[in-house]
Structure formats: structure tokens, C-alpha cells
């Protein structure tokens, strides 16, 4: 593994995201001018490496320069992953109090009191200022923490007309019960860069030596900024390997290799579930015993992939899907580094779906389509 450090955010390294910045700027401007803003929560959803945290960094850097009465606060839920939820929420409440000039000593004996005192303090601030709360890694955080966070911090804040909440997240979306956080929120997909010129602009700022390879990098990365940087800096094969490792960064080190193997085994499928997992693992490990796996064993694999937000249920696909860019990058790596294994997985998938199409009359058409997809993938033109 190459000891390459990922670049830290700096305003001059930031490219693109004009629409997202404009959206937030317009909302802040409306509040600054005393106009009501109906949707005061914005949720940016996107896969790992797409630039969610950098977008928050950039908003934090540029907006206070444009709006004098704006107070920007930042919370990163990744910092609370292993903490007790009640302690974590108390810590966040306390931090917001301190950062807005409120009491530094503990606000109360319990969350209810702390929440109330914070809101009393913030009401005074909000008479003169607008508050912009930037929250990173929200949906992929501990779901035992989020109900407390909602009841004692986000819910009360979301009701305040001069508070704007920007959240980022990936994977499963948490079902907030506060209308302002879900039903009346703006949900925006933060997509990878769509045009090769955008990848080129990024490489100019961050890896200019790779500029001549910008079109190829864009095709491989599908515009994912993290992948652009690593492919541009390390070259294709090493870069893809490192991208996969970076994608796995949220997974504890002792599980990383195993999770990577699961992702490699499943990356050829458009969708998977507990019925398909044993077949693909049997092929990946060349070990028939996986075919005897129980539903519960397969479920552990699925749960682990969902836990780390690499997969989610997709109704249209009729199964769990891997994050499209993650899937593409892992499949590209496998295709290049272990082409035989990739072909074996494609063939196994084709055989499985052909068998299902034969056995299950009601769902035949769906499985026939999947079998045809894998058949096409194995044709020389697709490889």
C-alpha cells in the first residue's frame, strides 16, 4: 500500500458544485433579508468520495464572508460512532452552547434540561443572527443516536425560522419524524462529476501531471472526485486498488479485508439478496460449502454491507444494490487485477438466473433479463 495522504480541503483546490452552493447561498440570503424560507433543511446524499465533507468545508469557508450576521456551526457525527448516544447528544448540545458564546458549564442534569437551556440561549442569538448548522455523516451514523439527536437538538432547531440545517449522508436515510427534517426538507443527490471537463478541472488543481489521462480517468471513476484524485496520482491499477481501500475506510481494520472480498464477490450483480450471496461466495472462494449456507449466515453478509452503507435496498431492482460508483470501481479493479475470477462470477450469475427463470414462472421475465445481462457482459466487446 502506498503511503499517499489524501489532500486536505483548501478553497483553491475546490472545484464545481456551483448549483449546490447557489442553493444554500440563496436560502441564507433570503433569511438575511428577512424573507421566509419554507425548506430550511437540505440533505446532500452521495456515496463515499463524492465530496460531501468538502462541500461542507467550502460552505463553512465562503458563506461567513458574504453574510455578516451568519453564524456557522459544524458537527461531525463520525466523531461519535463509538460513544454512548446520550453522552454524544449532550456533548453536541454543550459544544453548540460554547461555540455560540453560551454557558460553558454543563447545561443541565439531563438532555431535556440541556436542550431547553440551549434553545433559550439560541433564541437570543437568533434575534440578531442566522444560524447555519452543518452536520456531516448523519445517515450512516449510529441509528440509536439519531432519535435523541432529533428530540433534543435537531427537532427544536428545525422549528426556528432563522436556522438552516445542512446534512450529509449516504446509505439508508433515517426516517425523521420532524416534518422540517424529512417531509419539508430538500433532498439533493450529490452526484459524481458528470462531465469529463469537471474531472479535468479537479486534476488541474490536485494532480496536474495526470491531465493527459483525464478522459480515461473520468471513464473509470465515473467522476467520483476521490477516485479521480487517486487514479490521477497513482495510475490506474494501483489507483483502483487504493480507491477500493479508501472506500473501505469506515470499516474497522480487522473486518476490512473480509468486507472487500464480499464486495468483490457481489460487484458483478445488479442486485443481490440472501438467496444470491451463497452462490456468489461459492464461486469467489471456489468453495461449494458456501452453497449450504443458511439464510442467517447470508444475512450477516448483507447486514455488514448495509451497516457500512455500501449497499441498500432498491425496490426497482428487487434486491439490495451496491452503491453504483463503488460497484463500478470495485468491478473495474477485479476485471483488471483478477480477470479469471471476474469471468467466473459473471458465469455463475448467468447460470443462477437461467435456473431461476426456468423454475419460477411468476418472476421468469425478471430473471431472464438478468441472465441476458451477464451473458452480454461476457461477450468480448464488453470486456
Amino acid at each position: 500500500m502506498v503511503g499517499l495522504q489524501l489532500p486536505e480541503y483548501a478553497p483553491e483546490k475546490f472545484v464545481n458544485r456551483y448549483d449546490e452552493i447557489e442553493l444554500i447561498t440563496q436560502k441564507v440570503r433570503a433569511l438575511a433579508e428577512g424573507r421566509p424560507v419554507e425548506k430550511r433543511t437540505v440533505v446532500f446524499v452521495g456515496e463515499r468520495g463524492v465530496g460531501k465533507s468538502w462541500l461542507l468545508d467550502h460552505l463553512q469557508a465562503i458563506l461567513p464572508r458574504q453574510f455578516r450576521d451568519l453564524k456557522v456551526l459544524r458537527l461531525d457525527l463520525k466523531a461519535y460512532v463509538d460513544e454512548d448516544p446520550a453522552w454524544a447528544v449532550a456533548d453536541m448540545i454543550q459544544r453548540l452552547s460554547i461555540e455560540t458564546g453560551g454557558p460553558g458549564e454543563r447545561l443541565g442534569p439531563d438532555l431535556a434540561t440541556m436542550s431547553r437551556r440551549l434553545m433559550e440561549h439560541l433564541r437570543g442569538i437568533l434575534r440578531k443572527s442566522i444560524l447555519l448548522l452543518l452536520m456531516d455523516h448523519v445517515h450512516e451514523s449510529n441509528w440509536n443516536l439519531l432519535p435523541l439527536l432529533e428530540d433534543y437538538l435537531l427537532g427544536p432547531l428545525a422549528a426556528e425560522p432563522r436556522v438552516l440545517i445542512i446534512m450529509t449522508g449516504r446509505g439508508r436515510l433515517y426516517p425523521w419524524k420532524t416534518p422540517e427534517l424529512r417531509l419539508k426538507a430538500d433532498f439533493k443527490d450529490l452526484l459524481p462529476f458528470q462531465r469529463p471537463e469537471e474531472t479535468q478541472a479537479q486534476l488541474e488543481q490536485q494532480a496536474y501531471k495526470a491531465l493527459p489521462q483525464a478522459p480515461e480517468i473520468h471513464t473509470l471513476s465515473q467522476g467520483n472526485p476521490l477516485a479521480n484524485y487517486l487514479l490521477g496520482t497513482l495510475g490506474v491499477l494501483e489507483g483502483l486498488d487504493r480507491v477500493v481501500e479508501e472506500i473501505l475506510e469506515p470499516v474497522p481494520a480487522d473486518r476490512r479485508r473480509q468486507v472487500r472480498e464480499y464486495l468483490e464477490a457481489l460487484c458483478v450483480l445488479n442486485a443481490f439478496d440472501e438467496e444470491r450471496i451463497p452462490e456468489m461466495l461459492a464461486t469467489y472462494y471456489r468453495d461449494d460449502s458456501y452453497r449450504q449456507w443458511t439464510y442467517a449466515q447470508a444475512r450477516q453478509v448483507r447486514e455488514e454491507l448495509i451497516r457500512w452503507a455500501f449497499a441498500r435496498w432498491n425496490a426497482d431492482a428487487g434486491g439490495y444494490i451496491l452503491d453504483p460508483v463503488v460497484r463500478r470501481l470495485i468491478e473495474e479493479y477485479l476485471k483488471k487485477a483478477q480477470p479469471e475470477k471476474w469471468r467466473a462470477l459473471q458465469r455463475a450469475a448467468q447460470d443462477m438466473y437461467t435456473r431461476w427463470a426456468r423454475e419460477f414462472a411468476r418472476t421468469r421475465e425478471r430473471w431472464q433479463k438478468e441472465a441476458a445481462y451477464h451473458h452480454r457482459s461476457l461477450q468480448p466487446a464488453s470486456m
Binding site: 431535556a112 441509528w143 427544536p156 425496490a315 414462472a361
Partner: protein, 388 residues
């Protein structure tokens, strides 16, 4: 009553954190707001304005009303609207033409019950009042609660849990995060200490004073009067004119209230829509009306959303627990139910799971025959034949 069907065990095996199909009574379901579908109707109802929502029985009116209440109760503070659930008692009593005064007395009572219960969970609202404000609040309790205040306070002291109050005053009232028993007992003592004998004013005055207390003293930004329960009495549905007669005195007040930040939001049986619109054309303008139409797609979403919430987002469809022989399971069920309402959809879904457990036990994937058996049962039941 414990569920002996085996379905809860199967749901646990399948990775559900709780049973999202067991609770057909929306009012008692603490997760209701999380699995709300039909967002556009909620979005129209939520906010400072008059709203009329029409839907058939079992079509989600009470679920929507409870969702609005739960949304009002988020947080510990008074920066959200205060909800007053109002189920007019008159039709159930066979008294079809209540006066304005009778409505106001009933609303003052409903509003006071809501305030009393909410304060038991949020005693800090009371503790931060000065003495005259406390006395004024306690007067409201004494004038409008259905029983003697001292009896409620005594029960509360003994149990140390505000739920003892909702059990007797409004079982549909579900608020989380009770204060600790000591704080609750302090609140009971403080309420009792602020009590004084004063003559009970007229309903009009009581309602006026309650509005003032909620909007000015406590400082809620608005009051939402949530009118519901009109299809609870059988005669209501068969005679829309009687309901219009019953509501007429109340409806005449709504526009004036809106100027005072008091908004009526009514959840009404679909059968009444034509009659009310004809009789009160100015009030029932299209901008205020939302009609809940249940399509098979939306009904399928009712089940999917419940699956998503109960599995904490792990999956969003029973397809994840079905054999490869089955896909789009919810749509298959949704196309069967008549009338197309969430209640019917949940009945059929639940039955499918019961069929599965009956044949296969509390584990294993849902199979074609489980679905076919459930549909066969549904089509043979009175609930189906009565409605075709």
C-alpha cells in the same frame, strides 16, 4: 394481549425491531410519524392554515391527525404549534345540532386536557411561570377538566408517571420522555399550591382565556384544532346533512380564528365532501381541501415504508424475505384489497404472514402458497363480500 400467532417471532427472525403490522389503531402506534406515506397531503395539512382532509373510513385520517400531533410535540419547547385533538361528542350522544357554545365548551375541555397532559410531561413550562400565570393556568384546569383536579394530581403523585393521566383523560395521547417522578411530584405540588376558588365563566370566556394562555402566556406560535372521529358514529356516514348541521356553528368561526393563529384542521369522512362543499362553498375552497386517494402503488408503499422503519432501513420491501418465485409482493397484495385503504392492506399483509407461519413456522422465506392462501382467505371473508 400477547400475540400467539407466531408472527412476532417470524418478524424477529427476519430482522424486524418491532411488529409494524400488528397495530391497526393509528392512535396507539408510536412509530406512526416515521412511516407516514402520502407526503403531499401531510405537507398541505402541516402549516398555518385551515385544512379539510377527506378520506374513507380506514383511509388514514386518524393516522394523519396523529402525525400532525406528533410533529407538534417534537422537542421540549413551545416553538411548535399546540395541537388540540377535537372529537365532537354530540353525534355519539344522538345530539345532532349542538350550539356554538356547546362546541366551544367541548373545545375548551379538549384543549385543557391536552395542556394538562403535555404539562405533566413538560413541567418546566409551569415552573417558569410567575404566580399570577400559574394561578391562571390552574384555573383553566379546574374549570375545564372533566374531573376534580385534586384527584388527578393525587393519582399522578402516587404513580410518579404522567401516563396515569393519559390513561384516564386521553389514551391516544402518546408523549415520550417523562420527567423523573420527583420532578413530577414537585409539579403536582406546585399546581395544587396555585389553586384557588373562582367562579366558572361561560364557555365563550373559557375558550377565550385558554387561547390567551396558550398563545400569549405560554407563547405557542399557533393552535391547531384537529377535528376527527366523525365516522365513529354510524349515523354520521349515512347522513352527511346531519354532520353538516352538527359542524355548522363551528365552521362559522374558522375564518375569524385563522386571524388569531387558531387553525381548524378537519379530518372528515369522504362521503361528506359533496354535502359540505355545497353548503359552505366559500369555506371549502379547493386550496384548503386534500383528498386521500389510495392507489395500489400508494398502498404498496404503506407496507414498504413500515418494513423500512421496522428494520431500521435494512430493507424496504417484503420482497427481501420472499422466495425468488415472488417479486413486487406488496403490489400483488395491494391489487386485491377492497376498499383500497391502508387498514385493508395491513389486514391482508398480516394474514399472509400468519399463513406463512401456519405452514412453515416462524422462519423461512415467504412462498407463493402463503400469498395465495392469504388472498383466498381475504376474498372469502365478509369484509370483502360486503364491499364488492
Amino acid at each position: 394481549m400477547p400475540d400467539s400467532s407466531g408472527v412476532p417471532e417470524w418478524l424477529r427472525w427476519a430482522g424486524f425491531r418491532f411488529d409494524p403490522f400488528g397495530q391497526l389503531d393509528a392512535a396507539a402506534d408510536p412509530h406512526l410519524n416515521e412511516y407516514l406515506v402520502g407526503h403531499e397531503v401531510f405537507a398541505r395539512v402541516w402549516g398555518d392554515g385551515i385544512s379539510w382532509v377527506f378520506a374513507p373510513a380506514g383511509g388514514g385520517k386518524t393516522a394523519l391527525r396523529i402525525s400532525v400531533m406528533q410533529a407538534c410535540w417534537v422537542g421540549q419547547e413551545t416553538n411548535r404549534p399546540f395541537p388540540i385533538p377535537y372529537v365532537p361528542p354530540f353525534l355519539a350522544w344522538g345530539h345532532a345540532r349542538p350550539s356554538e357554545e356547546e362546541h366551544l365548551a367541548a373545545i375548551a375541555r379538549a384543549g385543557t386536557i391536552a395542556l394538562f397532559l403535555t404539562m405533566a410531561y413538560r413541567p418546566h413550562w409551569f415552573f417558569r411561570m410567575d404566580q399570577p400565570e400559574r394561578q391562571h393556568t390552574v384555573e383553566m384546569f379546574r374549570w375545564n377538566l372533566p374531573g376534580p383536579l385534586s384527584v388527578y394530581l393525587e393519582r399522578c403523585r402516587l404513580r410518579g408517571d404522567p401516563q396515569v393521566l393519559s390513561d384516564v383523560l386521553d389514551p391516544a395521547f402518546v408523549l415520550r420522555h417523562s420527567p423523573n417522578p420527583e420532578v413530577l411530584r414537585d409539579w403536582c405540588d406546585a399546581v395544587e399550591a396555585a389553586s384557588r376558588e373562582t367562579p366558572t365563566p361561560s364557555p365563550l370566556e373559557r375558550w377565550s382565556l385558554l387561547k390567551e394562555l396558550l398563545l400569549e402566556t405560554i407563547g405557542f406560535p399557533a393552535l391547531y384544532i384537529l377535528l376527527d372521529g366523525l365516522d365513529g358514529a354510524p349515523e354520521t356516514i349515512s347522513d352527511p346533512t346531519a354532520v353538516a348541521d352538527c359542524l355548522a356553528p363551528l365552521l362559522r368561526l374558522t375564518e375569524g380564528w385563522a386571524k388569531e393563529k387558531v387553525f381548524l384542521k378537519a379530518f372528515l369522512p369522504g362521503e361528506m365532501q359533496i354535502s359540505l362543499v355545497e353548503r359552505f362553498p366559500d369555506l371549502f375552497g379547493p386550496a384548503y381541501i386534500s383528498t386521500i386517494h389510495w392507489t395500489p402503488d400508494l398502498l404498496a408503499e404503506v407496507v414498504r415504508r413500515r418494513v423500512y422503519v421496522a428494520t431500521e432501513g435494512a430493507f424496504g420491501s417484503l420482497d427481501a424475505l420472499a422466495s425468488p418465485a415472488l417479486r413486487d409482493l406488496e403490489t400483488l397484495l395491494a391489487k386485491t384489497v377492497i376498499p383500497p385503504t391502508p387498514r385493508e392492506m395491513l389486514v391482508l399483509t398480516r394474514r399472509m404472514l400468519e399463513e406463512h407461519v401456519r405452514i412453515s413456522g416462524s422462519n423461512g422465506l415467504i412462498r407463493e402458497e402463503d400469498v395465495e392462501n392469504a388472498i383466498r382467505w381475504y376474498l372469502s371473508t365478509v369484509r370483502y363480500h360486503d364491499k364488492v
